[in-house]
């Protein structure tokens, strides 16, 4: 009997969302306990800052250029390699419960297997998962969760925020007390909400396992990704009026706009509502209209959603403990990418490679039987990537990571990271919108600097870039790209980026906007 693996992901969660990383609002004692008994990574980055590419990296252990999911809407090929298949072949029972998003969600023709299974209510899984029960951010679509809502609580369908508007664009409908976009008072009972559903279905799957089964369960919560519509019954947890504004939000508009204007021009174009280069950001919403109170309210709702996630995790941990499995359980907790939540005056995400979107919470609590526990904690400051997750799962299962995985098992401390050369992490963005807009970013983080170069597109001519000193400027408000004193450093980072970046071999068709 080997080690069991609980892989917990959230969607669009910031590094500072949890107590273990300095968060002071949302109470996350279960997640914090992983850090108190395991390894926290202070510089974990995704290889892309939107869902589908990032999740494809998690399941394949590959760079975006290798797995080819370069933008939301591009499906991961069914024949793509999968860590779940590797573990299943090694004798593990495997499940994915919650949000997968390896294939497009907007699929009226039911072309994709995940949607077909969700619509039919079958759970036979694919991509190496024996079992799949899928969910996304509401009751619409063809997931198992939406199917469950339709059949058991059809009155709840209209309680959630309607994600798309009549133009099939992401909805900017205002709500809440402040009129912020993508907020809705959701009257759905808490135990019908997708966070609790994911935990319920996970516990149900675990209940079907034999005591001596080895298992790998990816429990994937759709929150705190927008829309921000947690159950209304939970809003008492955080009063938005009492929240401080984020440190990354300069309150003076002139100061804020000066910071944005020192960045490549698509920052200001989005701020003024003249260019939306990510489908998931509401096309009709103008960030310059965002108010301080709207930021407070969005943040309050995100904190509430994170508390609900933590409590759902607690229920699953209790179920595992009741089976006597805790001693052999490895837990890995992370998210797919971050969220602005007010930084620089923005919400949502897009082609903006700053810590708001790139610095992720990542914690590995090794099984106590394998040395995990309060006496074996560490904080790793060296950079790691989500492509290192799949090889880590292989290492936990005592399986040699296949050659097609491009990451490495996560280091257990900084000494291990330095010994094994965890020096850099790269992140990319490519997008092509129906109107022809193209944006391409290539980013390297190393030695406490983040350097982004822009390839030629319809907005950039290929000379633009960003360079930030994370020690002196942790909020990335001073762009050093054109600083003559940093030219040598910039050139060195770009050479290192070119040597270590995996360029896409082809840009496959996007089959849906998301």
């Amino acid at each position: 009997m080997g080690r069991k693996i609980l892989f917990i992901t959230t969607d669009q969660m910031r590094y500072d969302a949890i107590g273990a990383n300095g968060g002071t609002v949302a109470r996350t004692p279960n997640i914090d306990s992983f850090a108190a008994n395991g390894i926290s990574y202070d510089r974990a980055q995704p290889q892309n800052v939107v869902c589908m590419p990032s999740r494809a990296t998690m399941v394949t252990g590959q760079n975006v250029g290798t797995h080819g999911v370069w933008m939301n809407g591009v499906p991961l090929p069914v024949e793509a390699p999968s860590v779940a298949a590797v573990l299943r072949d090694a004798g593990y029972r495997t499940a994915l419960i919650g949000k997968s998003h390896f294939e497009p969600l907007l699929d009226p023709f039911l072309r994709f297997e995940e949607n077909r299974q969700g619509f039919a209510g079958t759970t036979v899984g694919h991509r190496g998962f024996d079992h799949m029960e899928l969910a996304t951010h509401g009751a619409a679509g063809f997931t198992h969760y939406s199917n469950w809502i339709r059949h058991n609580h059809p009155e709840a369908i209209g309680m959630f925020f309607q994600v798309l508007d009549g133009d099939l664009e992401v909805n900017d409908a205002p709500g809440g007390d402040t009129g912020a976009p993508q907020i809705k008072r959701n009257t759905v009972p808490r135990d019908w909400y997708h966070t609790d559903w994911v935990a319920d279905r996970t516990i149900s799957w675990l209940d079907g396992l034999a005591n001596d089964d080895d298992w790998f369960c990816w429990m994937s919560f759709p929150d705190p990704h927008h829309p921000w519509d947690p159950p209304e019954s939970e809003l008492h947890r955080v009063d938005w009026r009492e929240l401080d504004l984020p440190a990354g939000y300069p309150q003076n508009a002139a100061e804020r706009e000066a910071i944005i204007d020192a960045k490549p021009r698509h920052w200001r174009l989005w701020y003024d509502g003249k260019l939306v280069s990510n489908y998931e950001a509401p096309a009709k919403w103008v960030p310059a209209t965002l108010t301080a109170d709207q930021i407070r309210e969005v943040n309050a709702l995100a904190h509430i959603e994170n508390e609900l996630i933590d409590e759902a995790i607690g229920r699953v941990l209790a179920a595992i403990d009741s089976k006597g499995w805790s001693d052999d359980l490895d837990i890995v907790f992370t998210t797919d990418h971050g969220e602005f939540q007010g930084d620089f005056g923005f919400l949502f995400k897009g082609p903006y490679h700053v810590d708001s979107l790139m610095r992720l919470p990542l914690i590995w609590r090794p099984a106590p039987s394998a040395g995990g526990g309060a006496d074996a904690t560490a904080r790793v400051s060296q950079p790691v990537g989500l492509l290192d997750l799949a090889p880590t799962f292989c290492a936990i299962a005592d399986v040699q990571p296949p050659e097609w995985m491009e990451g490495r098992p996560l280091p257990i401390d900084d000494a291990d990271a330095q010994a094994r050369g965890f020096e850099r992490v790269t992140t990319e963005w490519d997008s092509r919108q129906p109107d022809g807009t193209e944006i391409h970013l290539r980013t390297i983080m190393r030695d406490n600097f983040v350097c982004t170069t822009y390839q030629p597109g319809t907005v950039h001519d290929g000379t633009e870039g960003e360079l930030y000193d994370l020690v002196l400027d942790p909020l990335q408000q001073i762009n050093l790209w054109d600083d003559p004193d940093r030219r040598a450093l910039r050139d060195e980072l770009l050479i290192d980026l070119a040597a270590n970046f995996v360029e896409p071999r082809q840009f496959r068709h996007a089959e849906a906007p998301v």
Partner: protein
Amino acid sequence: MATIRSHARVHRSADDVWKVVGDPTRIVDWFPGVTAVTVEGNIRTLTLAAGLPVFEEIVTLDHRMRRFQYRITGPLPVKYHLGTMDVIEDGEPGCLLMYSTEISPDPMAFVLDGVISEGIGNLARMLNEHTEDER
């Protein structure tokens, strides 16, 4: 307004290919996710795998030009749509199958581009592998 286009070379005569393309009921044989079709006058109604209906108006069925045009009229969230299929003689034996779409709102182009490309591929394979007499 977004425009998209897919095409395929088919190693069959234009007349053979038009026997399928020019019959609006045959879409069920090659278009992904379509499980049933009815045609009444110039109204074509598709049923998708998820049970959703798609209502269409047949605009052009020109046997001489080998051109078929239709509009989606509901309930997909389409503000403007015109789909055009042309079968063009392109040497012997063979023809070019062209499927063009103009659509608004733009995000629908993503949805249709992929499914039409897959459909055109299905149709070309079907026609290349079987003669119509075998069906």
